[in-house]
């Protein structure tokens, strides 16, 4: 356990190194957020919906702020899979799955917090109807933060499954592309899940992708009542357990049939 914690801490520090690139990234993400907010405002002007516009803009900003949590993968691991250097990792006296789980968790957490917090502050300063609204209630905010932490655990399990596929195909671009697209669609990044057709809601909110950011955001905006929070958190934990189990099974099967690309 100590080994994984220190890997986690090392990666956290590593992520804080590239601050220059971060500012460009934040400004770019802010711009994308503003365009989306403008689009939804225009749509609302034509046909107002039951869901208030503030909820939609808050949804957009939280999604933009934590974008790095969704789409970022471990570049070293990809390289190692391609070059065959992954065989060195098999010599380490640690479980490979958890070793990389700790690394990706640190990368996703620090990467998204460093970009997310400044962005949320900026979004909060925007005029009403454009920016981020205050959380519906204090318990709602607490639950949203807990749900976000669980969402992080869930996304790391998904990322390791994607990596499991990469170990099979050696080429990250095909399968990874499809899986990532499923993720950004059904996690609400392309279009808030709250704006998907009402008849789809029961299915899409039960998918693992909705546990990453959608569930925390809905707790934040108050769309999910705090009273239901334990159930939601239970669902998140359940999905995380299932996905971790599946990922570990994949990695151990891959290990048995792995052909190292010698070089």
């Amino acid at each position: 356990m100590r080994a994984y914690l220190s890997v986690f801490r090392m990666r956290l520090r590593m992520e804080t190194q590239y601050r220059g690139a971060m500012i460009g990234g934040i400004l770019c993400q802010m711009f994308f957020g503003l365009v989306l907010v403008a689009l939804y405002r225009a749509l609302y002007a034509g046909k107002p919906q039951a869901l208030p516009i503030e909820h939609v803009t808050t949804y957009v900003w939280l999604q933009q702020a934590f974008f790095r949590m969704l789409l970022s993968s471990d570049p070293d691991l990809l390289d190692k899979i391609r070059s065959g250097n992954i065989s060195y990792d098999m010599c380490r006296p640690v479980n490979m799955y958890w070793f990389y789980y700790a690394r990706i968790a640190a990368q996703k957490m620090m990467g998204s917090l460093m970009r997310g917090i400044p962005m949320l502050i900026l979004a909060f300063l925007l005029p009403k109807g454009w920016g981020l609204m205050l959380p519906a209630s204090v318990p709602g905010l607490v639950m949203a933060v807990i749900a976000l932490a669980l969402g992080l655990l869930c996304i790391c399990a998904l990322e390791n499954i994607t990596m499991g596929f990469t170990m099979l195909t050696l080429d990250p671009r095909g399968m990874q592309g499809v899986l990532n697209l499923l993720m950004i669609t059904f996690s609400g990044n392309l279009l808030p899940l709250t704006l998907f057709p009402d008849s789809w809601q029961r299915v899409i909110t039960a998918l693992p992708y909705a546990q990453l950011l959608d569930a925390p955001i809905r707790l934040y905006t108050g769309e999910y009542d705090v009273a239901y929070a334990p159930g939601i958190i239970g669902l998140q934990a359940g999905w995380t357990a299932v996905l971790v189990a599946f990922g570990m099974w994949m990695w151990s099967t891959n290990r048995k049939r792995m052909i190292v690309q010698g070089g």
């Binding site: 690139a21 460009g24 990234g25 365009v35 671009r173 990874q176 697209l181 392309l190 279009l191 057709p197």
Partner: protein
């Protein structure tokens, strides 16, 4: 003419090399299809919920989406050297080898990359165009077809020109500048929808700085029979030329920038 022949030959060679790994190529092409299909699904879901956007019907919106994705992905298909590979060429010093050859740098950069996976994205765009024009009841005429053709060609030049901004920055600073993405990819996502739905600052940005509104929305609105801002019909053939203008300006700046190029030495 010689240059064109050279370009076509390099395209042929690169295509062949991409097809050497058919399984991988096939998977990546499918991934692209899913990606662009997802974007299209978002527009369909938006139309399903909101029905119209500032007076534009669902069919109109599909048409605007189609014009954007066809022109953006044709550019990425044939201009991969500029839209994708250039920053890496500067960083790794691969650009140095181009300086030794008796051809223009921009020509060689364009000859060095192709991205055939984008074919499925273009297909999705074409499907959106067909769907959009059918739903909007467009009566095609020679002039309208010409306007669409011009809009797509000029948009491709505009997009290449915008990516050249990034290239010029890269020449000066070695690092690629992420902020330019706001104009290129940001322009793509924003201008999938007609520009008149946006507040004034964004409208100005996409009319004056990155004139997607002039190259795409004016002619597309003319084809749909709902002129943008009520401008007369002939503007649909004049305003797209701004795409060529942006491309020319950026080519000049690119060549000027190359004079300051210092190899990274690696």
């Amino acid at each position: 003419m010689n240059t064109l022949k050279l370009y076509l030959r390099s395209m042929g060679m690169l295509l062949k090399s991409h097809l050497q790994y058919p399984a991988s190529f096939f998977m990546q092409t499918i991934a692209q299809l899913v990606m662009e299909g997802g974007e299209m699904m978002v527009v369909i879901l938006i139309v399903d919920r909101f029905e119209q956007l500032n007076g534009w019907t669902g069919g109109n919106l599909f048409f605007f989406f189609g014009v954007m994705s066809v022109s953006f992905y044709i550019t990425e298909f044939f201009g991969r050297g500029v839209t994708g590979d250039f920053p890496a060429m500067v960083r790794t010093g691969k650009l140095d080898t181009l300086l030794l050859r008796p051809r223009g740098i921009l020509t060689q950069v364009l000859c060095s990359g192709v991205d055939p996976r984008r074919i499925t994205c273009i297909a999705v765009g074409v499907a959106a165009l067909v769907m959009g024009s059918t739903l909007s009841g467009v009566e095609w005429s020679f002039l309208k077809a010409l306007a669409l053709f011009e809009a797509i060609c000029m948009s491709c030049m505009l997009i290449l020109g915008l990516f050249l901004i990034e290239a010029v920055f890269t020449i000066h600073s070695v690092k690629s500048v992420e902020l330019v993405n706001a104009l290129t990819y940001g322009g793509r996502s924003a201008c999938q929808y007609p520009v008149d739905i946006y507040p004034a600052p964004l409208r100005v940005l996409f009319t004056v700085v990155a004139p997607f509104a002039l190259t795409q929305h004016v002619p597309a609105a003319y084809i749909l029979g709902k002129p943008l801002y009520g401008w007369p019909g002939w503007t649909a053939f004049v305003t797209p030329l701004s795409g060529a203008a942006v491309f020319c300006i950026m080519t000049i700046l690119f060549n000027r920038g190359m004079r300051f190029y210092r190899s990274t030495g690696s």
